[in-house]
Amino acid sequence: MSSPKRMHPIAALLNILQHLKELFIPILLLLFFGNRGESEGMLYLIAVGVGLVLFLVSGFLSWYRFTYRVEENELRIEHGLLVRKKRYIPFERIQSLDVSEGILQRPFGLVKVKVETAAGSGNGEAEAVLTAIKKAEANAIHDLIVSAKRGSNPNEVEAFPDESVIYKMTMPDLLLLASTSGGVGVILSANLAIVFQFEEFIPYERVFQEMEQFISNGIMFISFVVFLGFFFVWLLAVIGTMLKYANFTLRKVEDDFIITRGLFEKRQFTIPLKRIQAIRISENIVRQPLGMATVYVESAGGSSSNEESSKVLFLPIIKRHNITQLLEPYLEDYEWNSKLSPAPPQALVRYLIRGALVSLPVIVVMVYLFQIWGLLSLGLLAVTSLWAYLQFKAAGWSLEQNMVTLRYRLIIKNTVYMRKNNVQSLSVKQSLFQKKKRLATVEAVVKSGQGGSGGKVLDLHEKDIAIIYNWYSRENSTVRME
């Protein structure tokens, strides 16, 4: 493993393609707008041709110069055409290897390996990327890293690592996942908007009498086209999701969770158990009535702008009541069965007022603009009140010895399980209005990627808030309660 190696030549091609993609628009501009007069046109073509050749050569050379090797428990990469760069990454610093298989890599049995360290390089890129290496090689590097981290001899890697499949996506699940994702919200709201528009501009009774005229006006036709447009977008989203999450598998190998997914482009994520900061169960509006939920884990580290490495989709779609049973054996530090206490009844009023604050301005404007027909927008008040009520019902908390669970809803209902040691800071807030009703707000922040995430529950009873606050305080909290 110690002699310097080059990547598979395909890497050179991928490199060139990548650069071409970035330069696609400038080249187009050059070709189309630079073309003035015959002789000059020739010149431009030659310039572009020379540029392309230079490109190919430099792509090839940079592949030629790029070598990697494993030496003294470090991954050592040397590259650069004019300026020669060396990057040595100690194995202990490597947090995860993100392995993916692109369309070009696949026929050759190659993979792309992204090496992630804790230091986000600032611009959100992985510390090192090996664009195309043999699968066996990637596995070898992975094994070396694992054994180096454990501080043992690489030869002593267990022949049969302790591996178990936690979850494997089935076809019906995949369909359900794709069809109930955010896209549905778009299409539903589009439909609602159309219906609402009918109600506001043309009351239905009159519409039916004047149907023919109505159609000739073309409004129906246009809205139908708009509907079709949304439907088409939604369909694309569904297909996209299905391609992305096909063959989703969650495995646990020793102390790491490994996720593989994708149909054309296979991706693999590794989440070390130690880096998990919180577990989040999300139930969106469409999935909740079906008893389905989505599980995410918040994980520390990963490159800064990479959303996927901080909030990782853990179980894409699963029956709510199966989650405990499924995850309990693998996440032993978390208590899944603790009972959540709700927000006190006096909080409901505040939730309703907050909801009304959203809809009332709209209603006032509607009544002002459409007079009596504007009153139809009172329906909006009913919607926001229902929404506020659901938020109130969702609010909840529970404490265990070393864990806090917060449940809240913005639009999606979230239940966040956090271990005390993972909570970076805890805040409580109380406004004058809240104080009158003996309510307060609690917020716990955990590390997620390079930033923070966590849970925030509005309007719990201040007695409960005090319990949570004292639980988090590390200094003789019982005395401070009095």
């Binding site: 970076q424 800071s425 805040s427 807030k429 590390k447 966590g454 606050y469 200094e475 401070r480 309660m481």
Partner: protein
Amino acid sequence: MFPEPQTRISQRALVVWRISGSISTLFVFLIGGGFITLGILFNWPLMIMVAIGIFMLVYAWLAVFFLPMMRWKRWRYEVREQEIELQRGVFIIKRTLIPMVRVQHVDTQQGPLLRKYGLSTVMISTAATVHEIPALEGVEAERLRQSISRLARVADEDV
């Protein structure tokens, strides 16, 4: 809700906040004065000008007197062996606990206005959040920075 943290921030913070409040008031008066001039030129209803005038006065009172006072009264902190506790806010009172083991580093920072009054702001960073104690006296800020980094170093648990 429960007992307040004990330490107050420097009383000179009040002066600094009043000065920055006065600066923002100056801008509000410039804009408000502009509107009133327009009103006189174009004969706007008197009510509008009175409203603008009242708004300006209320703003000045809030920014120069009321808010700095309340803010200073409310601002408390306590650095204990194992945690830091902060309390702040005027209408919404916010309390925060930061365990020492979660503190990554501590910075002090000083703008021109703060420097003139010998004050510093202390910023405490955890892996996910940044918390700030405004306007401590220079020596106090330095002492705090050192004691927090000492205490934070002693404790080590996993992230």
